[in-house]
Amino acid sequence: MSIGARIIGWAVLIFGLLYFFVPLGGLFEFSLKARRGVYSFDAYRQVFADPQFQATFTYSVVMALVTIAIGILIVVPTAFWVRLKMPWARPYVEFVTLLPLVIPAIVVVFGYIRLYNTSSWLPLTGSVFGTNALLAFGYTILALPYMYRAVDTGLRTIDVATLTEAAQILGAGWFTILRRVILPNVVPAVLSGAFLTFAIVIGEFTLAALLDRPAFGPYLQRIGANKAYEPFALSVIAFAITWGCLGLIQLVSRFSKAAPSRI
């Protein structure tokens, strides 16, 4: 590697890092300015004390967990089945799972509102529970590209067909195969999909806002206009959560390379 290449490499890298870190620095600095003239954690204190923060954050965490559960239930058996029995269908299924990247969330939720109102055959928006369910389903759709890819990649690292056959010939049925053989081997993949889902759901704005659910994303947006410093503290918190989740993914994937997963 020549000196010139090294200098250019470092220059590009440093530029990029500044690009990433200066705004985060700005964000943090601003969040400390709630008390005039001195840095303080007042904004954080106020945020944590705000019952709406607690309520919306709890709501979003619960939604994220529900979404992860639905996602696992839908994605793991499907990815398994496709790899095992319908490998030719994989490109099509993958295409469908990538659609949420193509169809903006705002379009999907628009469709929900029109399709599942109280006068429709499936009046999900007719009740709070139904609307929450619809939101969870919507989140599952948003997370689908990531969840499916993660699980599918996880399945690629094991020889699904042969392991299944090995289990079958040893007398195992489908449920045993999924639970004892397949799932334990894709735990790292499922976890990384789950953390990504968590990160997506916690900050999601569009769906929650348009379905009028008291989630963290809309709260953040609202408070962003109505309060001076708290939104910055909240953003730092949101960033820390996202960072935490994705950091955990890295950890899990690195850990799983070193040792097999156990359940």
Binding site: M1, A5, R6, G9, W10, V12, L13, F15, Y19, V22, P23, L24, G25, G26, L27, E29, F30, L73, V75, P77, T78, V82, K85, M86, A89, V93, V96, L98, L101, V102, P104, A105, I106, V107, V108, F110, G111, Y112, R114, L115, F137, T140, I141, G203, F205, T206, L210, G217, L220, Q221, G224, P231, F232, L234, S235, A238, F239, W243, L246, Q250
Partner: protein, 291 residues
């Protein structure tokens, strides 16, 4: 389960059954809602077929909002691709130490998901009127961003610069595997045949990467085009870009014509779909080589 019976006609449907939960779920919560919108784009309020909604897209502020959206998306995708590519190359090919790589990839994973409301605040806090950088420049160098450099966070460049925050890391994430797909032997084969580094990049590496680069550009474009939350958080919904207008339309804005809303949504789908089809097509081409 399926292999017990010699009757093969039973075989197919049972196999298909395994796909049913997924198929039903996706149909209900992705395909049908989308189709509803797409069909609605070609319907009048009472349900008869019309092209009027599509024609109406060409009225009022809609064309300009599409245009500005496309411009912002294209600019942030182009710059994001360029800078991200540079960083990925520096890291993959060892211009910078190896240990940089892992943290950078982790960080890119985080940052590429750091869109939305918090991102808007980060940039407001940095380049906004009382932002960190704005104030630093004004106090220490006497430079007023808006007056002297014409920079304003609420401008085309402001949004572009903000979007770059997630575009660059996304580029790094997606292009790194492609760069790693460049096999060492290709470079060595070129070298041993007498090629210089420049010749190698021009004749071998870039042609191989080209589909990936173009494809990633398309993906970045779609990514920016659909971003709502960041823009809303920055401007509080008075900015005329497509997602915001659609957002307002759905919330019940002055447009008051759901079918026109359908048409706008349809337009978004068309734009992002075109970008993604380009991406997928090019990715398939790229994978042919990188097998």
């Amino acid at each position: 389960m399926t292999n017990s019976s010699p009757a093969t006609q039973l075989h197919l449907p049972l196999t298909w059954l395994g796909l049913a939960p997924f198929a039903i779920f996706v149909t209900l919560f992705l395909l049908m809602p989308t189709m509803h919108i797409v069909i609605g784009a070609f319907q009048t309020r009472d349900g008869s077929f019309t092209l009027q909604n599509i024609i109406d897209l060409n009225s009022g502020t809609i064309p300009s909002s599409y245009w500005i959206s496309i411009k912002i998306s294209a600019a942030s995708a182009a710059l994001g691709s360029l800078i991200g590519f540079g960083m990925a190359v520096a890291v993959v090919f060892g211009a910078v130490p190896r240990w940089v790589r892992s943290p950078l990839m982790t960080f890119s994973g985080v940052a590429s998901n750091f869109a939305g409301v918090p991102l808007a605040f980060a940039f407001l806090a940095t380049f906004g009127p009382v932002g960190l950088v704005t104030v630093l420049l004004r106090q220490n160098f006497g430079i007023v961003l808006q007056r002297d450099l014409g920079f304003n966070i609420l401008s085309f460049w402001g949004l572009t610069v903000t979007y770059l925050f997630f575009q660059i890391p996304l580029m790094i994430l997606i292009i790194t595997p492609a760069l790693e797909g460049l096999r060492r032997e290709w470079r060595e084969a070129a070298q041993v045949l007498g090629a210089s580094t420049l010749q190698y990049w021009r004749m071998v590496a870039l042609p191989i990467l080209f589909p990936s680069l173009l494809g990633t550009f398309a993906l970045l474009f779609a990514n920016a085009f659909g971003a709502v939350a960041t823009a809303i958080a920055l401007t509080g919904s008075s900015l005329n870009i497509v997602p915001i207008q659609l957002f307002a339309q759905i919330r019940g804005d002055v447009l008051g014509n759901p079918n026109l809303g359908y048409a706008m949504a349809f337009g978004m789908i068309v734009v992002t779909a075109v970008a993604n089809v380009v991406y997928i097509w090019l990715r398939i081409r790229a994978e042919r080589w990188l097998k």
